[in-house]
Amino acid sequence: MSVAQALFLIFFGAAAVWFGIVVFRTHSMVRSAIALLFSQTAVGAMFLVMQAEFLGVLQIMMMATEMSVMAIFMVMFMMDPGGMGKMDMTHQKRLSLWAGGIGLVAALAVIWGAGWTGPVPPVPGAAEQAAALGRELLGRSMFIFEAAALMILTAMVAATMVAIAPREEDD
């Protein structure tokens, strides 16, 4: 990895973390959602720096739309989505602190325990990566992805059903 790459990686990593912090520091729901979006975009940019072009572009594309949809739900359902009343974005602090702490420890353990030495294998070209990813998706992992797709579809239908308010005549 070249120095420039490392610098970019650090930059985007820091951006991802900073936007992640903003998610909780802002009072506005919409800002919070957009900050989460840019945090994920920065992660996508990190993929790009690490030469995982397809994954990076995909991440950047998907997050834009997902977070926008999330933002509209916040505006629709939340009181005070603009944060005029200095709403606090943190909830269940004790649980969150524990979860965050455990996550940090686990990440550090992985970093510590992984064997970082050894020759780095050459990264295949972006086109090769995309082709390999396609073979993987349509080969070995096809079942997993199809199953996941079906589950998401089921969840979508179920969520819609739950969201529809029971009407008087249904009771």
Binding site: S28, V30, R31, I34, L37, E53, F54, V57, L58, I60, M61, A64, T65, M67, S68, V69, A71, I72, V75, G82, G125, A126, A127, Q129, A130
Partner: protein
Amino acid sequence: MTLAIILFALALGCYLIAVLEDWAVHGRLDPLRPAVSALALLGREQVLPRKSDRLFFEVGPVLLLVAGLLAVAVIPLAPGLIVTDLATGALFLNAALAYVLVALIMAGWGPNGAYAMIGGWRFLGQFVAYAMLIVMTITAVAMRAESLSTTEIVTSQAALWNVFYQPIGFVLFVIAAMGLAWLPPIDLPTGGGDLAGGVEAEYTGARLAVLRLARLVIVLALASATATFYLGGWLGPWLPAWAWTAAKTLAVAAAMLFLGRHLPRLREARYLAVSWKLGIPLALANIILVGVIALVVPI
């Protein structure tokens, strides 16, 4: 050098599209008008609406411009004349243009005006209609080229342009692209008679100039993407390669700009219904057809 040429082409293209748009709207051809308007716009006061979300208000137009510029970066003007020939170019175009949505939501939310806000969120609804169509038609294009690289997509059309190879995809892509660039009759976020400018309503002066420029870049990006994906990009006899790309791009842009002036603005529910109930099955059929043709008849 490549970058300089492309930037020059981009600026010229935007100016020509602005002339075309002015012609389409006002029914009069005035080649100087965009320059005059831009100059006048830059001299005007910039109003900051009260209680605006200042950050969103400022970032929205800039993000829109950045999204458009990134999209243009993967479009080849001629062989070798491309900012970056990504192996995932067609997907990258999508990713960049996804931020049009984010930018419009920010620009709509920022100024704290009802029309702007409704316009911004309306674009999200519009996005739900066009997004799948763009991705699915590009999928079929990439299938034929066996690559996501935009230059390879162009060279794959040497024997037959995609507009003839997959006409359904072409029509769907153009309709979806008009939705993405919020061109009439799918200009729901800014509709003049509905929302009095919508997302653009609160912007004045230089900020409005940036917003307008960004819109032009996006129209240019989509017109050139249509030319690249379906009209064979730089391919063509007699003229130099760049001239073909430019001519095709401008022709597509003119068609997009003039078509909408003769049609009433679509109803949002209608656009969604048609996109999902008719557009997506057609796009799927297009993918299957292209797949079958690509396997059976080698063109």
